[in-house]
Assembly symmetry: C2
Homo-oligomer: 383 residues x 2
């Protein structure tokens, strides 16, 4: 006898299709990480879980190159990490200077405005980067309180060097927020060496873990500034003072952390540590170089000049006369390969192809390019 | 040859201890849900994942009793759901009336203030509830824009009836935010019948899933109000207009949803649907009644009067002369049972004992009470 609408007739058993995640993220996940995800949970105040959070923080210091920093992990995705950075370090009236050359710098702009900032932007076309001299000149002229830039811009494939930005910002007394969503784990971030003050990332790209958490690194001077802040952050959920206290200091309840996701992140970091972070970066660099050589041998072009490319996220220009959506649909419907297209000013103009984690090998690049070539030819491109 | 600090020597393999989660949450998880958690992910824009989100929304309508509502799932924990409710429906200058009788109404207050609200509070001691007449009188007198109350107050064990609150609020032209973090899945929420406008919950209590997501139900009138809102929400990550568009309307990218957590939530909802939601509520009610009878037979007292108790979260008064922390430590160190103590005005005064999901059976209550009795006796209580 049914007592309510029979929802279980609506819900078939869960059988996700097999996908090869060659997009900008999420990326492929090591089976060990899935195994960790499915371990029985303990409570969020359990000494075992507190230890898991500490393990994660220690391992992240190595991946971030942030031995001097405070590490904390936000219970939300990379965008929650971005909002945590902005909501804690921007106050109403803060002058926030953004290096704007892609989608995620636009998102930073939007979040800063919602937190009451006075935003000034240095804009460039999507795919270009800022030279040291340009960065210094902008910061000296504007004298902002906070500077934001995107280390690896997922929407364009361009990598932005940060040292000149950070040095100029510090000269001006400003803090620097760096978006490391697409870089962390796949290439050097060098938080300390670069001079970043607040960096945020995600789990589902260079760390090869499912999405759901956002690791933050925060410099001593940023923590000091935060301790002196007198207005409350507009966000309680993302309040770094409270989260830092829960995760690192008193372990007093703030929110119920996503236990399973922390298990997964810990395992993903262990997988990385076993490989060795520098070897991992080299592997990503090698597979990127191989990819670019082969792409050019197919007569295709990279969107970003060689000096500024993100090794884990390749933007390949769509050849003229080819419909990128149809190519992507063929890859998805046939071998189950996911890649992404461009959007905004790059809509229809680039393919965004990730080579992250387990996929960053010559063998996987060959597999991908073979299928990519077939799909391109089927859509009229002659290689 | 090592190239960096050997993090994998710091990280032992992940072996979480076995815990019996008899606290206020997280609670025990069905093995099927762990299995779903570990299924290979697809992309966040993959048609399969879009379908998973839709399945979750449909199944949540039944659990919420919200056939008329819009359902969306926030990519954060229950506290993120609370902040989403507040940040979207409170503007600077909004008059926000809070029924304050526990910790989570204080958190609502804090979030409302951070979003610029003018907060007025009707305060009662922790564990008490508001009568219909009191609720009506408060709302008629204050004429707020938004009313907030906690359906099942996790910090006290008290259940607050909502119909009179919602009716009076609607008479005054106000929207009602209801905290259903501890009620959803374990007892009737009756969103439509009660007249709630915005309800939020979590996954790790009545839904018996690991923590990490927050399901929201939003009434038609609340969605209409939101569409007419001209100021942006202070939160971009929790912006309901954008999330609703991603999850339900255009499926345009907003953030990278935590795919694995959605798999788990879908499976948890399927487990619930197979049992039947009303049968599940009855099972929780029966195990609660059995628990109370046995507790009283042990000479112990419930903190909340019988009429106002949450059936899934029992607050038992700590007998005089007993140190609640020592009892909890014995339970954790011995059989691995987690329960919680009180905090704030109830620190040292109550045990908080959850009987949720798989634990809501007579057999599990007997197991718990046997161990609880042993721990109490060891700490000097004579039963």
């Amino acid at each position: 006898m049914r007592q309510q609408a029979p929802a279980h007739d609506l819900l078939a058993p869960l059988h996700p299709p097999t996908r090869y995640l060659f997009g900008p993220g999420p990326t492929m996940v090591d089976p060990r990480v899935y195994d960790a995800l499915s371990k029985p949970i303990v409570g969020h105040l359990d000494p075992y879980f507190i230890q898991v959070m500490q393990d994660v923080q220690e391992a992240l210091k190595i991946v971030y190159g942030a031995q001097e920093a405070s590490i904390l992990v936000i219970s939300g995705t990379g965008s929650a990490g971005m909002e945590a950075a902005v909501a804690n370090f921007v106050e109403p009236g803060t002058k926030f200077a953004v290096f704007a050359n892609g989608y995620f710098s636009d998102r930073l702009t939007e979040m800063a405005k919602r937190n009451g900032a006075n935003v000034v932007r240095f804009e460039k076309p999507w795919g270009e980067v800022f030279s040291d001299a340009e960065a210094e000149d902008f910061i000296r002229r504007e004298r902002p309180n906070v500077v934001g830039y995107v280390h690896a811009e997922t929407s364009t494939g361009a990598l932005q060097a940060g040292r000149a930005i950070c040095a100029a910002a510090h000269d001006a007394g400003a803090l620097v927020i760096a978006d490391c969503v697409t870089s962390l784990g796949g290439l050097p971030v060098e938080f300390d060496k670069t001079g970043m003050d607040i960096a945020y990332s995600c789990t589902q790209k260079g760390l090869s873990c499912p999405p759901g958490l956002s690791p933050l690194a925060i410099s001593g001077r940023a923590m000091e500034w935060l301790r002196g802040r007198t207005t409350p952050s507009r966000s309680w959920y993302l309040d770094i003072k409270l989260i830092h206290d829960y995760s690192t200091v008193s372990h007093r309840y703030h929110h119920t952390a996503p236990i399973s996701m922390f298990y997964a992140l810990r395992e993903a970091l262990l997988v990385i540590a076993e490989e060795g972070i520098e070897k991992r970066w080299e592997r990503h660099r090698r597979s990127h170089n191989f990819f670019v050589r082969e792409i050019e041998a197919m007569g295709l072009r990279m969107h970003v000049p060689a000096a500024n490319r993100i090794p884990t996220l390749n933007t390949v220009s769509v050849p003229s006369g080819v419909d990128d959506g149809k190519v992507r649909k063929r890859l998805m419907d046939g071998p189950g390969i996911e890649i992404a297209g461009g959007f905004g000013p790059l809509a229809g103009k680039v393919f965004r192809i990730g080579l992250m984690g387990p996929l960053a090998t010559e063998e996987n690049v060959k597999f991908f390019l073979s299928e990519f070539g077939k799909a391109l030819r089927a859509e009229g491109y002659s290689i």
